[in-house]
């Protein structure tokens, strides 16, 4: 479904990604793991189109993505839940979700999507009229995921959904991810919490200083001694 071929990305003069390549197949849950600053977020931003790619190709369902402007990509079926949620704090929960379905096709199915999101996160239904900025971190994360789902994505990318959340809430979050995956949604997940991420994922890529250093199924990676030493502290 998604194919990333050998991309380079720069921040000004500083290069962040060096020939990164990976694939995500339909229905898969793939995770990108690695240390802080390794370039995982940059990869997601490049796929979402808010970070230009200097070299290499991005293919989504076989179609090249590089020339598609960022705001068109949700219409193609790509959605990103950004790191730190990035909600619109002075809009209500309902408005935040509504704008998730901004694309014309998604707008037409908004009612259906609302039902889906409220089903996944019943709490949001109760809080629909509340300002998003006044909610707790976990609730905000739910809104962020809900907003992404409202665009009816075929590929859902999530950037550190568990960051800064209480352990109990982290559990709920991963339960939701698992459920979405079980419903057949393709997911690309970036996590620092490698153990938990690999537990839900089918496959994983280890990103180190802007390149893919290791890849394999979750089991393989969890078993890899280098991974265990570097990321699991065992």
């Amino acid at each position: 479904m998604l194919e990333v071929r050998d991309i380079d990305v720069f921040y000004g003069d500083a290069q962040a990604l060096y020939g990164v390549g990976f694939t995500v197949a339909e229905g898969e849950l793939v995770t990108l793991v690695g240390a802080n600053g390794a370039g995982k977020t940059t990869i997601l931003r490049a796929v979402a189109g808010i970070r230009p790619v200097a070299r290499g190709d991005l293919l989504f369902e076989g179609e090249p993505l590089r020339r598609v402007p960022a705001h068109r990509r949700p219409g193609l079926g790509i959605a990103l839940v950004p790191e730190g949620r990035e909600l619109w704090p002075q809009l209500t929960v309902r408005e935040n979700l509504e704008l998730g379905a901004y694309d014309r096709a998604a707008r037409a199915r908004a009612a259906e999507s609302f039902a889906h999101v409220y089903d996944l996160f019943p709490k949001l239904k109760d809080r629909a009229g509340q300002l998003a900025g006044s909610m707790s971190g976990g609730e905000q994360q739910m809104v962020a995921i809900g907003r992404a789902l409202m665009s009816r994505p075929r590929l859902l990318m999530m950037d550190e959904p568990s960051l800064g959340l209480a352990p109990l809430v982290v559990g709920q979050m991963f339960a939701a991810v698992r459920r979405l995956h079980a419903d057949g949604l393709t997911i690309l997940l970036v996590e620092q919490n490698l153990a938990r991420a690999l537990k839900v994922a089918d496959r994983g890529y280890v990103i180190e200083t802007g390149t893919v250093s290791l890849t394999g199924t979750s089991e393989q990676l969890l078993a890899d001694p280098a991974v265990r030493a570097a990321y699991l502290g065992v």
């Binding site: 705001h71 619109w88 704090p89 809009l91 509504e98 707008r107």
Partner: protein, 291 residues
């Protein structure tokens, strides 16, 4: 007592014009974080357009509003696409846009001088001096009409911003443009639209001003300055806040005569501006984001 009521009604009517005058500046600032220094120039230009429509085609200023809105929306879009678009975003861009749009103002003023000379112009509608009795006082029919238009504009804007996808997107862009892109909102297009709308609202203010005041190409400077006071009082960006800010300024100016000489009532607004900026940077009524 009666006199106080009469003054209060006058202040409310004045607030109507003040609010209409500040909507455009507040909207553009709230969404683009750009201080549109050309605002005063647009108000002046629109007064001239209204006058031309009245003079040549005998179109009543209040009926000219739709034409003015369309014309100045287009002008706003032109200014954005031709100039503002090229500025960097962020603090550096904020300062540059200040100077750039000031340049635009100078050019507009010069064009007006060339086309219409420095003479004062006035629009005399049949009802310019007729009056209506309210609460024991007699008030200008034109001022009432201006107030009505300003109120309608307030509600329309409010509905647009809270009830439509476009409006919600505008508020979302004001709060966090990056995540708007992720939601599939074409932020650049929202910017173009907002700049156009803000300019159209400045045009509306100019039309309203032309029914109340005489104007020349330098007209608009004090409107711009007072608009600053209003959007700061109102919290820089909230449309309802702007209306409240206008009310505060109008009441302060009208009732200041009990405390300071009438000559200094204008200064009261500017002092209020600085004090509010320093003590309550979020404005009297709220925050700095468009809600």
């Amino acid at each position: 007592m009666g006199e106080v009521v009469v003054l209060a009604v006058s202040a409310v009517l004045l607030a109507g014009f003040y609010a209409a005058m500040a909507y455009g500046l507040g909207l553009i600032y709230g969404v683009l974080r750009i201080v549109n220094l050309a605002h005063g120039g647009i108000i002046m230009a629109s007064a001239y357009v209204t006058w031309q429509l009245f003079d040549r085609f005998a179109i009543d200023p209040f009926l000219a509003i739709p034409i003015v809105l369309v014309v100045f929306f287009a002008i706003g879009v032109g200014i954005y696409l031709g100039l503002v678009r090229f500025l960097p975003r962020g603090p550096a861009g904020a300062v540059q846009s200040l100077l750039l749009l000031f340049g635009v103002w100078l050019v507009i003023r010069n064009v007006a001088y060339l086309l219409f000379t420095g003479n004062e112009q006035v629009i005399h509608t049949g009802y310019a001096t007729s009056s209506v009795r309210i609460l024991g006082g007699s008030f200008s029919a034109t001022r009432l009409a201006v107030f009505a238009v300003a109120t309608v504009a307030l509600f329309t804007l409010h509905l647009l911003l809270t009830r439509t996808y476009l409006g919600k997107a505008i508020r979302a862009v004001a709060q966090n443009p990056d995540s708007c892109t992720l939601a599939g909102i074409n932020v650049e297009r929202i910017y173009v639209f907002t700049f156009g709308l803000g300019t159209a609202l400045a045009g509306l203010a100019g039309t309203l001003a032309s029914t109340l005041f005489a104007f020349n190409p330098s007209f608009g400077a004090s409107e711009l300055l007072k608009s600053f006071v209003i959007i700061v009082l109102g919290g820089l960006g909230s449309i309802v806040g702007i209306a409240l800010g206008a009310l505060v300024l109008a009441f302060a100016e009208v009732f200041a005569v009990y405390a300071v000489p009438p000559y200094l009532t204008t200064a009261v607004g500017f002092v209020l501006l600085v004090v509010v900026l320093v003590l309550r940077p979020g404005g009297l009524f709220g925050q700095r984001v468009l809600r």
